[in-house]
């Protein structure tokens, strides 16, 4: 009898430990994106109007990426997110691994309604964003115009900040070394090309301050710690608007990429999630996003309707897109691990 | 306690009142008008004068907060006098830092170093003085033998009993042959039996080594047993200083009378005075005669103290200076003696010690009896109200 008492106690304990898991069943539609100013804009343009229109409550969460987190959520059976904003490589890997629900392209209006690369089997593009050369217009009257200028510490003395990792950094190095944007990934796919990129980075290494969080470069520029940055344009432009900065962005040689909406596999809110994604990719909703977030949108029709004053500040503006380099997602899916390892080995020397 | 008191009685000296025995040797330690204040308002130690001769065993006795420990700490150098001076071996200590005073010290909670063995503890004062290893070993062995702990040198202090630990502390305090050993309630943490045993040990070590010892305690029986002289502290100052016998037999004030041993106190008013005798009115219709020790003029209030062992119940008639009628409240049998508690003179409590307890069996609670004593055994002292709070 005592034994059975104990069993009862243990069962109760188990219930306490796992209670949180069980109670996660019936929950509201939850969307997770990058947080910060971009998610604030999304809330205003997408989540709140959607909730108002359909009466579906939308909960928000934020994360900073990583396919591992999604894998844990889906395979661990503890997916407390339904709609998630992911980067392109996560969209590819997750789709290959079956972490996402398939997109209903009929409901979304067909793949042709979106910019190139923004439509895949299980993901639809959410934003188009750019990373590239940013500088403080208040410091240089005649600022840098290319990656070669970024590397030219005689002409533009001072420190630069770059992302602490190989992605975007190697691209910039090769362009600084004279490789045409169109040839960057072709070069990077050869061992000699990678050596060339690291060799170019060697030149600038003493003058580089490395950033890890996207919020750092505008702060570093503002404090005068650095004079130039290889960083997200949207953050710099948002700082101009919010804090009255005079940051300038250099479109030639910038790298743009698409982030995606995905629906996590096995969600109990699948229908509502699909509705939300459809809502968020409609031109009439998307056009309100760039003025708030300084990022591009994926709907072809929507891009045309964006406020003309904002057009030159977004990646999808034709003049910007022509001189920019699309991020080669497949290259990074293949090479991220080892180039990171190599980058860190290089940085340690 | 009882044993101590009777021993003292057997040796009772003739009464000579004002001979507060100045030490014969030149003072080795001398407090001159020493005051100590922590808050700038009240004095923890007030105007203390104290001279201690070389080789003397002096105890600072008093209730807690009476200033005795503070006085000791000033001597050791852990507190500085606010005013006044302390002279040690002819030098003012104000400019000698504590570690150069060459004083051995024993603390209440032993203060042994837990990370060292017993031998290392005892050797510590030698090693900080740069004594060679072999000499240290020999001296430590001797010190261990002195406190009867030979063979335990390799142990850790925590592996010893409380009594053994205190012996180690004593050995450590004397091993470097200091001129002066201070003991701050060293036996306070031990039980009664161990305490008495160690009292004898300390006494023996004192006579073996001939070292000067200043000893702080609140236990009067310990003070009486050990000391050459006792300084009774209260309220920051010394109330009386003298040999144990002087302190016990001839207290100069109510505080000392009440604090040392047991005293009956009869409060009253001086009605006449004749040389060293006086007559005191107690209660409505009783007067007693006592030694006039510390009284004011006729009409002033006074406390008359009588030791319980000096009182006789239902005495054979004749020869008694004072006889009071009392009502027996309780009779307690103590084995070697008995005690009767009476109410006398308007219900003041009065204890009588009956040295042969068999005599007590004739007495009954509620009975009215006569209590008698000699005037020379009773002392009329100041009417210190605080004395009422004596233990």
């Amino acid at each position: 009898m005592r034994i059975s008492n104990l069993t009862g106690i243990s069962a109760a304990c188990l219930a306490v430990v796992f209670g949180a898991t069980f109670s996660a069943q019936a929950r509201d539609l939850t969307v997770s994106a990058w947080g910060g100013s971009s998610q604030a804009a999304q809330k205003k343009v997408y989540y709140e109007p959607f909730a108002a229109k359909t009466g579906t409550k939308v909960l928000e969460d934020s994360w900073s990426g990583g396919i591992g987190i999604l894998r844990t959520k889906v395979q661990g059976g503890n997916a407390n997110w339904d709609v998630v904003q992911v980067e392109a490589d996560e969209a590819i890997l997750g789709c290959d691994e079956g972490l996402f629900e398939k997109m209903d392209w009929k409901a979304l209006g067909g793949k042709d309604a979106f910019v190139k690369g923004a439509a895949t089997d299980c993901a639809v593009g959410s934003v188009v964003w750019t990373t590239g050369l940013v500088y403080d217009g208040a410091k240089f009257a005649d600022g840098p115009k290319s990656w070669a200028d970024f590397w030219d510490v005689k002409k533009f003395p001072g420190k630069r900040t770059m992302r602490k990792g190989p992605k975007y950094t190697l691209e910039s190095a090769l362009m600084a070394d004279g490789v045409a944007p169109a040839d960057v990934y072709k070069t990077l796919r050869t061992p000699a090309g990678i050596d060339r990129a690291f060799k170019k980075l060697d030149e600038l290494k003493p003058n580089i301050v490395w950033w890890t969080a996207g919020s750092q470069p505008p702060q570093l520029l503002a404090s005068g710690e650095v004079v130039m940055a290889d960083a997200y344009f949207s953050r710099a432009l948002a700082a101009n608007k919010a804090d009255g900065r005079k940051f300038k962005v250099v479109w030639p040689g910038s790298v743009y990429a698409i982030d995606f909406w995905v629906i996590l596999k096995g969600t109990p809110n699948k229908e509502a999630a699909a509705k939300l994604v459809t809502f968020m990719t409609r031109p009439e909703q998307q056009k309100g996003f760039p003025p708030l977030a300084f990022q591009g949108i994926t709907s072809v029709e929507g891009a045309k309707q964006v406020d003309a004053a904002v057009q030159p500040s977004i990646p999808t503006y034709p003049a910007n897109m022509q001189v920019a380099l699309p991020l080669d997602v497949e290259f990074w899916v293949d090479n991220n691990d080892q180039l990171n390892q190599r980058f860190n080995a290089w940085a340690s020397k | 306690m009882a044993g101590v008191v009777s021993a003292l009685r057997a040796n009772a000296l003739h009464e000579t009142e004002m001979d507060a025995a100045p030490s014969t040797a030149p003072a080795f330690v001398e407090f001159s008008d020493v005051c100590k204040s922590y808050d700038g308002e009240t004095l923890a130690v007030a105007h203390v004068d104290l001279a201690i001769g070389k080789g003397e065993f002096v105890t600072l006795l008093g209730p807690s907060g009476s200033g005795k420990t503070t006085s000791l700490m000033m001597l050791a150098g852990f507190e500085a006098p606010t005013s006044g001076d302390i002279v040690l071996a002819g030098r003012s200590v104000s400019r000698i830092p504590p570690h150069k005073r060459n004083i051995g010290m024993v603390f209440q909670n032993y203060a042994l170093f837990p990370h060292m063995t017993v031998a290392e503890n005892i050797g510590f004062p030698l090693s900080v003085r740069g004594v060679g290893r072999e000499t240290v070993r020999q001296k430590v062995d001797r010190a261990l033998a002195l406190v009867r702990l030979s063979g335990l040198g390799h142990r850790r202090p925590t592996e010893l009993s409380g009594g053994q630990q205190q012996r180690v502390a004593v050995a450590r305090a004397v091993v470097f042959e200091p001129d002066l050993v201070l003991m701050d309630e060293p036996l306070g943490a031990l039980d009664k039996q161990l305490r008495e045993q160690l009292q004898l040990e300390i006494k023996r070590i004192h006579s073996d080594l001939g070292v000067t010892i200043v000893y702080v305690t609140h236990d009067q029986s310990e003070a009486l047993t050990l000391s050459d002289r006792i300084a009774v502290f209260n309220g920051g100052g010394i109330r009386q200083i003298g040999t144990p016998m002087e302190i016990y037999e001839r207290p100069l004030n109510s505080f000392v009378a009440q604090f040392i041993g047991e005293s009956n106190r009869l409060d009253g008013r001086v009605i006449s005075r004749n040389g060293d005798r006086c007559r005191v009115q107690i209660g409505a219709d009783a007067t007693i005669e006592a030694r006039a020790v510390a009284i004011g003029d006729v009409g002033c209030s006074t406390s008359v103290t009588i030791r319980p062992e000096h009182v006789v119940i239902n005495p054979p008639p004749g020869g008694w200076d004072n006889v009071l009628t009392g009502l027996i409240e309780t009779i307690i049998y103590h084995g070697d003696h008995a005690r009767a508690q009476l109410r006398v003179a308007d219900s003041q409590v009065f204890t009588v010690k009956i040295s042969d307890p068999r005599n007590a069996s004739a007495l009954k609670t509620g009975e009215t009896v006569q209590a008698a004593w000699r005037a020379s055994d009773s002392r009329a002292l100041d009417p210190d109200p605080a004395a009422g709070a004596a233990p």
């Binding site: 005592r2 104990l6 106690i9 304990c13 188990l14 306490v16 430990v17 990583g66 396919i67 591992g68 894998r71 890997l93 290959d96 079956g98 602490k164 690291f198 301050v209 490395w210 890890t212 702060q219 570093l220 404090s223 005068g224 497949e330 899916v333 293949d334 090479n335 991220n336 691990d337 080892q338 990171n340 390892q341 190599r342 860190n344 080995a345 290089w346 940085a347 340690s348 020397k349 | 050791a76 150098g77 852990f78 570690h99 005073r101 004083i103 051995g104 010290m105 603390f107 909670n109 203060a111 042994l112 170093f113 990370h115 510590f124 004062p125 900080v128 502390a169 450590r172 470097f176 201070l182």
Partner: protein
């Protein structure tokens, strides 16, 4: 049991009753401990076990390429495998139904050789169209990497079910196709360096914490408790804000035009601003600040229990206050020093956000890589192996340390 006092108990009866009482007490104790044990099992033992398993587990490729692995099981790794192996590969890839499994296997091979993932997918797309009779030639024609021995070596290394690939990788080592272990090229050898750096930074942080924390704890333990309480709040202040906020605050304070440099220049100590951030100095400052309470608290609790008497005893016995402090006080605080340094060191080993935000590129600590492989590239095998290496290293250091401390810590603690 009213009869018990009068009825004498037989020896056996007494023993039985005693045993029953003891059993009841044991069960009671177990019931009280059960929630904690369960908690520890779920949150501590399970993840560590999983970490160990992940670091040697290698199931992905054998699930997708069983025939290929069988065909190269006896391959010596000196020359290209036979045509049979190529045919088996084509058959395997052609038969894959579950893309999820293929993706896993491709990822696994990609960990070994850059670009293997796309190679697998490209080959799988063409598998149905290739004639198996000249499989090796056709594969070589499709992508010349199939003509490289090491490509096949990578497949063989991933044969599973267990592998030393990750653990070797975590030590900057690798097996070649022939099965010989060798160090990877210096352009990729990073983990041993980072491990050494992690231990080095942790060591310095621990020393700095001890140096700064010891006097603070001493002060706190010796001043009146009402003042000590206020100071203690200041010591604990770092715990009140999030790690990220604190780290950002340090960025602001230490930057080139920040208040620290400003103050130093104003005082006239320096002419040029010091580089205090994005280098090792900033990392030491920030981690030390965060971990200081972990040093102060154990020291304080030990010192608080000491009291002034042993110091006084030592001084009265003739020791100079400084000697007394070194020979009597400090040794008695060793349990606190032991606990504090251990806490700080082990906490410091796991830091990665602070070095990531405040350090330079060569100040990354091992946890950064564990997080990177766990979250970003899902190379859980390597993450697990790095974790195992870190855990082992910590365990070894702990053993050495507890031996050095003479086992004294636990005895007084």
């Amino acid at each position: 049991m009213p009869a018990a006092p009068s009825a004498p108990l037989g020896g056996r009866q007494l023993k039985q009753r005693l045993r029953r009482i003891q059993r009841r007490q044991a069960l009671r104790a177990f019931a009280l401990l059960a929630p904690l044990m369960l908690f520890l099992a779920v949150n501590f033992l399970l993840p560590i076990t999983l970490m160990f398993v992940r670091s040697v587990d290698d199931p992905d490729v054998r699930r997708v390429l069983p025939r290929t692995l069988a065909a190269i099981s006896n391959w010596d790794g000196l020359a290209l495998p036979s045509n049979e192996a190529g045919a088996a590969l084509l058959a395997d890839l052609g038969a894959v139904e579950n893309r999820e499994d293929l993706s896993r296997a491709a990822n696994r091979l990609n960990y070994d050789i850059n670009g293997f993932r796309s190679l697998i997918f490209r080959t799988a797309r063409s598998a149905g169209r290739i004639d198996a009779t000249h499989a090796m030639d056709a594969l070589g024609a499709l992508d010349q990497r199939w003509k490289d021995i090491e490509t096949w070596g990578a497949v063989k290394r991933a044969a599973g079910p267990t592998t030393s690939f990750y653990l070797l990788g975590a030590l900057d080592m690798k097996k070649n196709a022939g099965g010989e272990i060798h160090r990877v090229g210096s352009e990729r050898a990073v983990f041993t360096l980072v491990l050494a750096r992690t231990l080095w930074i942790s060591l310095w942080v621990t020393l700095l914490c001890l140096l700064l924390g010891y006097p603070v704890a001493y002060l706190l333990a010796t001043i009146p408790s009402n003042v000590a309480n206020i100071l203690m709040i200041l010591v604990l202040l770092p715990f009140w804000t999030s790690l990220l906020v604190r780290t950002t605050a340090w960025v602001v304070l230490l930057q080139t035009d920040g208040p620290v440099n400003g103050a130093l220049r104003w005082v006239g100590l320096i002419d040029q601003p010091l580089q205090l951030i994005f280098n090792r100095v900033g990392v030491y400052i920030a981690i030390t600040h965060v971990l200081l309470p972990f040093m102060v608290l154990p020291l304080y609790s030990v010192m608080k229990s000491l009291g002034p008497t042993t110091m006084r005893a030592a001084i009265s016995l003739g020791a100079h206050p400084f000697t007394a402090f070194l020979r009597v006080y400090v040794p008695q605080t060793m349990p606190g020093v032991f606990a504090g340094t251990l806490l700080v060191f082990i906490s410091a080993i796991g830091y990665y956000i602070t070095p990531a935000l405040i350090g330079g590129a060569d100040d990354q600590m091992l946890s950064y890589f564990i997080a990177f492989y766990t979250n970003e590239t899902t190379n859980w095998g390597l993450a697990g192996a790095l974790g195992v290496v870190l855990l082992m290293m910590t365990a070894v250091l702990y053993l050495i340390y507890s031996r050095l401390a003479g086992g004294a810590g636990p005895r007084w603690a």
